[in-house]
Symmetry: C2
Subunit: 246 residues, 2 copies
């Protein structure tokens, strides 16, 4: 339907995926609106992976390689636009995948669980009986699978709510966030923030993971230590403002 | 449902209105995503009416007062979030209101026509038999009601597609655009661009219309002549970047 030479081809394809996910019943209407918010941020960033994002990706991969129990957290939007890319990354990094829905309903969980199953993946977070409250915080934002995020040392989140990110960080886990808004609470809260669209960031993460897996662990520790997320976020913001001038 | 003291109360109320419009069947799924794009721009602008927008509003109202046949163009999103405000403004300015849907379906047109009727307004653009192609351009972007936009000298559009804005401008009409993105094609194409959320801009326009209606016409002509949309757009962009630094 959308011609490949359309100047906004990539963006329109993602938009179609979001609409399909909504129609399939696993994306909330708020997820459609959230996608629109992301479209604007991606437009402002120039719909490309900026230098600071590459840096954050490198540090994230080093952190995930050194992790004992890393988990990739997914929500409806992430499943809608990047499920295959997420699965590929999880395989390279030996990460579990856990579902965490802001608007959790039985139906949405079942549909997403089934989609992952059809791709040979058992996702965590789908079974209510396996959910515990992080730090005993009695909130839907604080639930985590006892076999996944609850015991994880590193969690990769994308398009994540600020309250949720705060709970994860306060529980002592290292949080890696993919967030197109460098000013968001999640972006500021996370230990490492990748200011990029997940559809570009995750395949890049996979490539860098293949590369860094063979590196010496002390090298990985060193680049992590040398990294300042605050400085890197400033660079991302500067890149957005500079792109707006063009 | 949403507590009035919620820090994002206004924004959440608009989001609810959009969801309701979608459920009522007159807003396209793309309209929900478009609302999300607007949310980001409004967030970046600080969710307030900036000085350059006040200036553009003043010039717009002067232009609308001097117009012979001004029309306010509405789409699904405008109806969803600001129908009452639009009707009030149209009354103060003696403007017609015309419906122009990007994703026009018979059902959507009927629902919106009915909503306006319930508020005592006969909107233009609803009857296919009254639609003509502007400049003979055979495109759904070029249709206009023969009793409204087709013969209008000034058109107020909000949340408008760039192709449509271009057709209106090229037909010699003066176009006033309310658009939160100062970099958009519509914003650049329009004769006057109000970089603001319609939910704030339109009530402000009404207040200023009441004020300017009593002014001397030569005064109105003078302030219009002194105005540069290009300069004003630069100020809007500067305000957004300055807000991002805070």
């Amino acid at each position: 339907m959308i011609p490949k030479n359309h100047p906004r081809y990539e963006s329109l394809i993602l938009r179609e995926k979001i609409k399909i996910a909504y129609k399939e019943g696993y994306l909330a209407d708020s997820g459609m609106i959230a996608h629109g918010r992301g479209e604007t941020f991606d437009y402002l960033i120039g719909e490309k992976t900026i230098e600071s994002a590459y840096k954050a990706i490198e540090i994230s991969i080093a952190t995930l390689i050194l992790a004992k129990n890393p988990v990739i957290s997914v929500n409806g939007n992430a499943v809608a636009i990047a499920i295959d890319e997420i699965i590929e990354l999880s395989k390279v990094l030996n990460c579990k995948i856990e579902l965490n829905l802001f608007y959790r309903t039985k139906k949405r969980v079942e549909i997403i669980e089934k989609i992952f199953k059809s791709k040979g993946i058992n996702i965590l977070g789908a079974n209510d009986n396996d959910l515990l409250f992080i730090n005993g915080i009695n909130s839907p934002r604080a639930t985590a699978d006892k076999n996944g995020i609850y015991d994880a040392d590193v969690v990769l989140v994308s398009l994540e709510d600020g309250d949720r990110a705060e709970i994860l960080v306060n529980s002592g886990k290292k949080v890696i966030a993919i967030d197109l808004n460098p000013l968001s609470r999640t972006a500021k809260m996370a230990n490492i923030t990748i200011v990029d669209n997940i559809i570009r960031a995750i395949p890049t993460m996979k490539e860098i993971a293949i590369d860094l897996k063979n590196k010496d662990k002390n090298y990985l520790k060193k680049i992590i230590n040398d990294f300042s997320n605050e400085e890197n976020l400033k660079k991302s913001l500067k890149a957005i403002k500079s792109n707006m001038n063009q």
